[in-house]
Subunit: 358 residues, 2 copies
Amino acid sequence: KHSFNIAVIAGDGIGKEVMPEGLRVLDAAARRFGIALHYKHIEWSSCDYYATHGKMMPDDWKAQLAGVDAIYFGAVGWPDAVPDHVSLWGSILKFRREFDQYINLRPARLFEGVACPLANRKPGDIDFMIVRENTEGEYSSVGGVMYEGTEREVVMQQSVFSRHGADRLLKFAFELARKRERKHLTVATKSNGIAVSMPWWDGRAAAIAADYPDVRWDKQHIDILSARFVLQPQRFDVVAATNLFGDILSDLGPACTGTLGLAPSANLNPERSFPSLFEPVHGSAPDIYGKNIANPIGMIWSGAMMLDFIDQSGTVGRQAHDAILAAIEQVLADGPRTPDLGGAASTTDMGKAIAAAV
Amino acid sequence: KHSFNIAVIAGDGIGKEVMPEGLRVLDAAARRFGIALHYKHIEWSSCDYYATHGKMMPDDWKAQLAGVDAIYFGAVGWPDAVPDHVSLWGSILKFRREFDQYINLRPARLFEGVACPLANRKPGDIDFMIVRENTEGEYSSVGGVMYEGTEREVVMQQSVFSRHGADRLLKFAFELARKRERKHLTVATKSNGIAVSMPWWDGRAAAIAADYPDVRWDKQHIDILSARFVLQPQRFDVVAATNLFGDILSDLGPACTGTLGLAPSANLNPERSFPSLFEPVHGSAPDIYGKNIANPIGMIWSGAMMLDFIDQSGTVGRQAHDAILAAIEQVLADGPRTPDLGGAASTTDMGKAIAAAV
Ligand SMILES: CC(C)[C@H](C(=O)O)[C@@H](O)C(=O)O
Ligand SMILES: CC(C)[C@H](C(=O)O)[C@@H](O)C(=O)O
């Protein structure tokens, strides 16, 4: 009865290398917990597809995804062949918007056995969750150029925020903070410099906060907040941020835990009106593609988050998630490790070790 | 003949505590190098002034600054009394725009004797310069709200870039990189997510780069760039960024060198049509104000940058700058230190030690 349909999109670059390891570990967990996973492998949403079709996706892409419970996504982008904004707006950013995956959940956690780039930090000092708005804000294609091609050229870029968008994000973040031990929420802002949207955003945070008297919260400007990720990472529990600020913080946070290669993400449509999408935080990394040295943990951990989310019974999915996390912890503590973690193991070695530990 | 008029604006909070130390060190350097500094102390551009006048500056503020060679600025902001965007758009952001201080130069450098929050980094590993656009871009008060006060509320925030603004910033950054040993420039972008302004910005960088074949340059998205400040800080030499990205990077960079308390900045109008402004990167820090524990080095180093800039002869100003930097290095290596550096010295102690070393 625990049976799910998963669309599998490996995409570009190291997406193609980490995906097999993600599937290997999913299969191991599925076997152990009696979950049936039906994969639908998809070739589009990649720059290879673009090369032959002149677009990132077929016109019937939504129809092809009908009945899918989740999308398991590697990485997309191959800037030498397709400009980033074309490949990304044509794939991952399109999924986020058209499937209204308005929550982008991104944990940052320091593991035993991983060398921390911050001095004197131990596991437990860094363990927080970034809740990134994923559908609006600074990521916008609204705007244009005046006096184009002349010395007088002026470019206007619109950021667009809605109360609908801000409130649901902030509510999700407060709910999450409420469930955690420390019950603390930091809201990223820049209301001292960005004069229209950000003071308004502060106002929405204060309005939503009124319903959560049990959650301690504060707002911090993105500049000092970034500095504090380095100087006082133990101070963070849940961090809510707009699309752009969440993007920055969710690379910076994992960097402080040793490597971006670990970081997973869940692009959620909490109402389940559309499939949610699970992908590592890292990109397609053309510079290391083809060597089989990419760290597969971001992909694998994303798979764990996927099982947890799709199983609404809250039993086997949660158990499978926890088992995968435990396997990741175990391999990080004393198993094979990829070069980004100071080891010499391959992507495949690490994936196999984690699958075995599950 | 080396005689300059300096407007002194201590401003709010710890601005009032670090300013006396900045002046103490300036005076020591001026004596040693035969420079005459005439100070004009200004009470406005502070939240105290706002409390009695209902505005941050008098109407004749420009007239009051006529004949001034530079503005030496502490910090502004007291959010409990005046909303940040009001105090800041009424003071520091106004200076930057109305005096066309389009370059914000912000060094990040790891000193001997300062505990680095990054593991295994030594002086020399972090030594770069951020060149931040300071007058346009994401810092904008253009925009507005539709359906205000309703569930349908939509907020539009315009970022405004000009070819004039981008090109002069990028040229300055390439010129600076050309003069440095490593001749390397990193241009911060986010053209994969912000679809109108940032691809355009990339295009301007490529266009300007064509005139600097001797400078190695690359562009990096702000998310991964922030991560690399932590993971590979030695890779940076000069970093050019828009207003917002420069703001973030210039808190993050100094954080990686131990404390924001060290970081200076120069808000330059390179053409000298208007006075330039020199201020520490840190803000008014209400949480530590009144204890005389703020680190005065950001203020003092900003003073050194000021002397270097205002003396167009390129002799005494440069010498005074170097002497102050040497004094800072000496005191950091074995002098009194404020709590942010792990010591117990006061702001005054540290200022006196640096002045004595000059
Ligand atoms: C106070 C604030 C408006 C200012 C900015 O964002 O520019 C500050 O953070 C800075 O970096 O000088
Ligand atoms: C590839 C890019 C558009 C994307 C983003 O900026 O959202 C990525 O950096 C991420 O964080 O998922």
